[in-house]
């Protein structure tokens, strides 16, 4: 294969992987930004998105509808969970939050196993997305280009939400100083609920988008959540721009690392994280706390 073509393909591969990672890492960082805690259930929500997406597509035949229903279902679940369980924990130690979200992760995984069974689920991509394009005479799946576009669109939409809407303003305010935001007469509880639901919806959208590549299976969440944690650490906890940059760095490190140093495949991501944390302990765009 021509070296330029190879490099271009790898570039596109890295971008599509980054896009997939971005959806789940973004939700994690949003929740951290406003609640100062890691949501352990995020991987399970991502997996739920994959299952709901595949089932929607199997029942209705519409991939587009699966990209609507999966995030919607996860957002509603997230909202219900935040209102019923998490809202009681904000005044407590962070460890309570970790335990409860970890519990949700376990319960959700088992619920999915009961509802869908232990076998992986899959649905075929619609013909329009299943094709290939030729990039420098090499076939490249259209769907991976769609993923890159979806990742970029999500980044743009989130940036607009954060910087151009009142909800975004409140989210940023609550992340800087929740007590002051509440004292100024804003409903911080509603902002928290909205952020949690939004983050769950994003994770589920990521899961639904990932299903055509990986299928929906028990354990899908566990494998991806570790990468997402790493991204959030690299980018800086709670930083939107940091998450975007972190997703790209991890996507590129994995794609190019596995290619040139396949024996060190698992190490590339962690080497990157260690290097970043040595230079900037708070992450690239984060504050030290």
């Amino acid at each position: 294969m021509d070296p330029v073509a190879l490099f271009t393909l790898q570039l596109l591969n890295a971008l599509s992987l980054s896009a997939l990672l971005f959806f789940i890492a973004l939700g994690l960082t949003l929740i951290f930004g406003i609640m100062r805690v890691i949501n352990f259930a995020h991987g399970a929500i991502y997996m739920l998105g994959a299952y709901v997406g595949v089932t929607t597509q199997t029942l209705t035949g519409s991939f587009a509808l699966s990209l609507v229903l999966a995030p919607l279902a996860a957002a509603l679940l997230g909202l219900a969970f935040e209102r019923s369980a998490l809202t009681r924990l904000y005044a407590r130690e962070h460890s309570a939050f970790l335990l409860v979200t970890f519990g949700l992760a376990l319960a959700l995984t088992e619920a999915i196993r009961l509802a869908w069974g232990p076998d992986p689920r899959q649905a075929e991509l619609p013909a329009a997305l299943a094709g290939i394009v030729f990039v420098l005479d090499e076939p490249f799946p259209v769907y991976r280009l769609v993923l890159i576009g979806a990742g970029a669109a999500a980044a743009l939409a989130l940036w607009l939400l954060l910087h151009r809407t009142r909800l975004g303003l409140l989210m940023r305010a609550a992340s800087q100083n929740a007590a002051m935001t509440a004292a100024l007469g804003n409903d911080v509880a509603a902002v928290r609920a909205a952020v949690f639901a939004l983050a769950c919806g994003l994770a589920a959208l990521g899961g639904a988008l990932a299903a055509p590549l990986f299928t929906a299976y028990i354990g899908l969440g566990t494998s991806v959540i570790i990468d997402a944690f790493v991204i959030v650490m690299i980018g800086g906890m709670g930083s939107f721009v940091g998450t975007a940059v972190g997703s790209l760095l991890v996507g590129f490190a994995q794609t190019f690392g596995n290619f040139y140093f396949p024996e060190l495949a698992l190490g590339a991501t962690y080497a990157l994280m260690i290097a970043v944390l040595l230079l900037r302990p708070g992450g690239l765009f984060g504050r030290e706390e």
């Binding site: 294969m1 190879l6 393909l9 790898q10 591969n13 599509s16 992987l17 997939l20 232990p118 076998d119 992986p120 689920r121 899959q122 649905a123 075929e124 299943a130 290939i132 090499e138 076939p139 490249f140 799946p141 769907y143 991976r144 990932a210 055509p212 590549l213 990986f214 299928t215 299976y217 354990g219 899908l220 494998s223 991806v224 994995q254 794609t255 190019f256 596995n258 290619f259 396949p262 024996e263 495949a265 698992l266």
Partner: protein
């Protein structure tokens, strides 16, 4: 016959030492009751999906046999225990079954390492082991014991069938992709040896960590190496993810993809993406054999599903047990072991002969290709080559083909 034996044993028990009486009486009671078959297998853990096949097929077999009046007039009852595929667990559970439940026939062991842990104890336990899953060559070679038989096709036999098929194919340069752990690495090593044996070569290999999701970078590597064919040793979710992405990159159009064993557990979730995959086959519902057609029909009626690899292998192992019990007219260990020698029968994979020298069932070797087929919701394996037993069975007590 069995009732006179019980009478004799009970009389003997009553007549001999008082100390031994409770044990002998318990044995006599056990003899009169159902025939208990011990299945220490992987019900949870890595191999749970395979263990589930073993368990459901044993249940179906018990139901079928019991409806016909049992085995030699005795109802059959399976005792299942979870080993999680761990040899130490398997040894302990098997021992419990033998000592507590008076089991003398063990089946359905999952990992070869479990079988190898149990086999040295068989003589001491006076028990018989019929392998239905275990592939390691040494089970019927250097580690064979007379109380063990292998009804299933061994790993080397499966590899042999695939090698015979590839010998006749035009491709000479292969690239290998496998999971980075013991099984994957040994599978590639075996395959590379097998290629050398048929005058072909491996031009490179790459090992992906277990749990790899995005295979695009490995696909790029394969394309860069530009082999004429690709060999994969991937299982479960990893195999499924690779097949889907390989199909999305149209890799099948560039080169044939070959795998050690085609198993529906990983080809079914891959959907259309598995079409074209060629590999060895331990068992498939697609084998065109009358006994298999009957089994598949019964299985689908019971479970509304197609039997998979270890369903068929387990059924065949139970057919071996039935044939031996009928030949011996007994389910005592020594009588069964004697009856297994050169036992001939026909089961779901066609004619079988248990050879006396190492307990291996000589049987046909199959090579399959995944294809779309009328009447099935997902692509299924179809048989492309069948090799007679003589071509795929190694010499006695050997795991290699000289």
């Amino acid at each position: 016959m069995s009732s006179t034996m019980i009478g004799r044993r009970a009389a003997l028990g009553a007549g001999v030492a008082v100390l031994a009486a409770p044990a002998v009486l318990r044995r006599a009671r056990a003899q009169a009751g159902p025939l208990k078959l011990g299945v220490p297998t992987a019900i949870t853990g890595t191999w749970a999906a395979l263990g589930a096949q073993v368990v459901r097929t044993c249940r179906l077999w018990a139901k079928t046999v019991n409806a016909q009046g049992g085995l030699l007039g005795r109802q059959v009852e399976f005792l299942f225990e979870d080993t999680q595929g761990v040899p130490a667990n398997c040894l302990r559970k098997a021992q419990e079954m033998v000592e507590r439940d008076r089991v003398n026939i063990l089946l359905g062991l999952m990992a070869s390492s479990e079988a190898l842990a149990v086999m040295p104890k068989l003589a001491e336990w006076n028990a018989l082991f019929i392998s239905s899953v275990n592939g390691a060559g040494s089970i019927t070679a250097e580690h064979w014991v007379p109380n063990a038989v292998r009804a299933n096709i061994s790993g080397p036999m499966g590899a042999r069938a695939l090698a015979l098929h590839l010998r006749d194919s035009p491709q000479t340069d292969y690239f290998c992709l496998s999971l980075d752990y013991a099984w994957g690495r040994s599978s590639v090593e075996t395959f590379e040896g097998l290629l050398r044996g048929i005058g072909k070569r491996s031009i490179g290999s790459v090992f992906a960590p277990v749990g790899t999701r995005d295979y695009s970078t490995y696909i790029a590597r394969i394309r860069q190496a530009n082999p004429q064919a690709l060999y994969i040793a991937l299982t479960g979710d990893d195999g499924t993810a690779f097949l889907r992405q390989a199909a999305q990159f149209r890799l099948f159009e560039r080169m044939p993809i070959v795998t050690e064993t085609v198993d529906m557990l990983f080809t079914r979730p891959a959907g259309e993406a598995a079409i074209g995959l060629v590999g060895g086959s331990r068992y498939s519902f697609a084998y065109d054999i009358p006994a298999n057609a009957a089994f598949v029909q019964r299985f689908r009626a019971e479970y509304n599903e197609l039997p998979d690899t270890y369903d068929g292998e387990q059924w065949q192992a139970l057919d071996v047990l039935m044939a031996a019990a009928r030949r011996a007219n007994s389910t005592e260990t020594a009588a069964l072991v004697a009856a297994m020698r050169d036992l001939e029968l026909s089961s779901v994979k066609g004619p079988l002969r248990i050879r006396a020298c190492d307990g291996q069932a000589e049987q046909q070797g199959f090579v399959v290709r995944v294809a779309r087929k009328e009447g099935f919701p997902h692509p299924v394996p179809e048989v492309i080559r069948t090799y007679p037993a003589a071509e795929v069975t190694p010499a006695c007590r050997s795991a290699t083909f000289a």
